[in-house]
Symmetry: D2
Subunit: 291 residues, 4 copies
């Protein structure tokens, strides 16, 4: 699964100021990634605000990305949830032919036990026609998948090919890297520690900031994969403040403000999210001007 080494961009769903989906901006966004060395694209990730898209919109967003990409980059689709049967149904009902993998977040809100998480993903893996990357983000879901659970899934389900790890716990990443099966992908789901994770043996990152500063971010990760820590860390500190900014008022409000500055899309989001404050937009604007 070397196609997921490097940098995957978790695409936003651009909205016009009237809150309708801006498909033209989405085309610009996808081309911006392709033209700037991003390695693969993730649609319907958390950053894409799928919670507030209708089914019709989701289909059209997916179609737009597939057509714009036109086979140039590997594609990952986010399908996850806190109802195991519903996730199974969605996978079975979705045309996955254009996708190389599914990114599936662990259940949020209903707080399963580790055994529940294991059974959830085991059931999903059993019916999935595509490889699965599981996603651990306890700050959103309310419960962390332990290394033991992740490694148990990695061992028992051959089509669970990796984990997007965003627990913010470097020790957890180390335990995964030390004990994972050969070829299992440990991907950072946290832009700030993406570089140290790759330097320590991670396969790459699924990034938010990377879609706004794709050239340098992608280069940083490539250098890290080659073991060139000095050159890579220089890029990290060049990019770093933008990472603070884009998460300061939540995701994707921040990255959309940065993409607006770059003339790719508006900074509009849908409720319950609200767009970045004028102060934050100003900080991001200054960052880009001085980049």
């Amino acid at each position: 699964m070397t196609q997921f080494y490097g940098t995957g961009a978790a695409l936003v769903t651009p909205f016009k100021v009237d809150k309708s989906v801006d498909y033209e901006a989405l085309v610009r966004l996808v081309n911006f990634q392709i033209d700037n060395d991003i390695d693969y694209l993730v649609v319907m990730g958390t950053t894409g605000e799928p919670a507030t898209l209708t089914n019709v919109e989701k289909q059209k967003v997916i179609k737009t990305v597939i057509e714009t990409n036109n086979g140039q980059l590997p594609l990952v689709i986010g399908i996850g949830g806190n109802n195991t049967q519903a996730v199974i149904n969605e996978i079975e009902e979705t045309d996955l032919s254009a996708f190389d993998a599914i990114l599936s977040v662990s259940p949020y809100y209903n707080k399963p036990t580790q055994e529940g998480i294991y059974q959830h993903f085991k059931a999903i893996a059993a019916i999935s026609p595509k490889p699965i990357i599981i996603y651990n983000v306890p700050s959103r879901t309310g419960v962390s998948m332990t290394p033991k659970t992740i490694l148990r899934l990695a061992s028992d389900c051959s089509n669970i090919i990796g984990v997007k790890e965003a627990s913010g716990d470097m020790d957890q990443a180390f335990m995964l890297l030390q004990n994972k099966p050969e070829g299992f992908l440990v991907l950072s789901g946290d832009d700030m520690v993406a570089l140290p994770m790759v330097l320590m043996g991670g396969a790459g990152v699924i990034t938010v900031i990377g879609q706004g500063i794709p050239g340098d971010f992608s280069k940083m990760i490539k250098l890290a994969l080659e073991g060139k820590s000095k050159e890579a860390s220089k890029l990290h500190f060049k990019i770093m403040n933008s990472i603070y900014y884009i998460f300061e008022e939540g995701n994707p409000a921040g990255i959309k403000a940065l993409l607006k500055k770059r003339s790719i899309c508006e900074c509009t989001v849908r409720l319950p999210l609200v767009e970045a404050s004028a102060e934050l937009q100003e900080k991001i604007s200054n960052f880009i001007d001085n980049y």
Copy 2:
């Protein structure tokens, strides 16, 4: 809104061992509450596993509760989510005539800012034909509603009549109690601290354990509302261990194990939840035997 003083039971949705909804058990459960001094019923709360019910099942569960209750107790329905427009649509499309209020959890997973949470509930309140109790449970949603946000909503939206507060932070409850508008309900959403919250001025509790031990739990809260802390705290310590047990492997796996012991329903839950372990069922069984 004095009908929400006291103890509201957040009802489980009983499942048969084949995982289908057990409507007969639901009738037993509702009658058990009515016969044992519970003050009002909450359907489609988190404890009811609405995330894993189909729409048809939800309708039939709601209908069963309404018919069994037959006007004896006030009814609250849970309608919440992380897509503001979808919550609005659901409220508009639901027949709420039998209900006295809506319980609406703050958005989970997509982590809105405080301003986003405010705009979310303001938009919902604007269209709701029924009073709303907002629900703060950061351990599930990933973000806490601050006292400032809650008080801003209490002040600006006359049909937001209370908060189910489950942040686990006694200071937060104190700030709400000190600064809330007259009549605004501060309800505990945490069984373990329900008694101290009511003794300090809270209006009551929306409870999980209370549906399993309704008589004593309801009596404890009534004593607290009358300012009788000594009698109330004796009941707290009598009940206390069962609270640890029913949350030890997550909710509602634990309370369903207790309700099974009481011959009300099976302990079946749906994935991603898994039923209580044999060890936990044994502890709960012993607790009830020695109660």
Copy 3:
């Protein structure tokens, strides 16, 4: 040990503006407690800044309190540390004849295991000629004494008569209250939750704010001990904001600012502590003016 029911005041050590100890202010402070219904006095508690007093100063402070008190109130002396042998030596070398108990904080900084904490206090209890109240304040020490360790000490050492519990964890207090031996004192070490802890069965509080607002604070705790939660909680909400204020910039900088406003002492503290900011002094001053 009913003499420790109610409110013990953890006295500050007043300093003049030149940072020398202000013994006249200390006399005023002690008399202020005696005249306003405080139940017992604690000298050399954390609030007394013993870490920055010389041995000579400590002796003179102790002597001043003993002489001013003149047998009117029970006295407790703080003797604790992270060197077990040194604590033993200090107890053996101190004239404890005027004291009714020792308050001994669990070891800070060197982070013993629970077994280490147990052995530490067991060794101290074995040589102490006076009853001991152990003090759990993990936000300062870096490690919490678990209920199991506290209860083990309560059971094994007859002269460990109570715990000052400041873990900020209501569940921990409940476990102690449920399982403690008859007569063992569970005292709140946290002013904000002192009232709910006493309403739930606690014996009282060792307080910081109480020395600044002794009449109402002491009355609140007495009402709680009598089970009068409604009257007590009114006083809680009257006092509450001052508790936030006095801990906003750390203890005892805040309480000294309040005592300055009350003309009892200067607000001087010794490095590494610094006195309360002008803004905080203003807030405290306004609070007292409007009390």
Copy 4:
């Protein structure tokens, strides 16, 4: 201050089974470091249990290290505390001629504000005849020095030459690395993240485990300083489990168990610490046997 690049070993103080200091073991320990590529030695660090040493013992330990080292490695001495004046006095009264720097922990237990921490170290720096490395370890002290405070000290006090950073917060390390003055040392105080911190630009580490596995640990850090992340991370994963083990029951109980296995000293510690359990000693023994 390039002498502090690389690996500094925070030496334990060996005790005989009768709990007296074992000076012969200390000689073995120091020689083990010198013979295995450790870059400098730290005496009277937290790992050395200075809290439970008498002044006479401290002097003799220091003398033993100085004489054994005989000028071969740079030496750092730990002098810190929560009484600013006492730290000043100790620095002024100690013969520092053999030492190259002082390691000074931020105040523990009395929880100064950031301004208090700043004033504390500013006062110490003003009188210190030797360069100072400040030490941030909030899990022990109860309060973290913010990057702002550390950078303010770095900027205002020319003899504060570095920070031993053990907040466990990678973001904090990044902020320091990005904004520090030229030449200011950011040293890891946490063995587990020592490698990623150095790969990201840190100058090195003051280590516990490194004294037990000095050759490989020192080599790992040297490789990291040269930017050779792939070779370095191989050593990290070889060493990693021993780091979990030596902190599992607290420091220095764990490292002393490892040093016992290596025939350097007994695993004895002084109360309130207790020696590693038989189970942990077994795990450590197996680790070394299979290393």
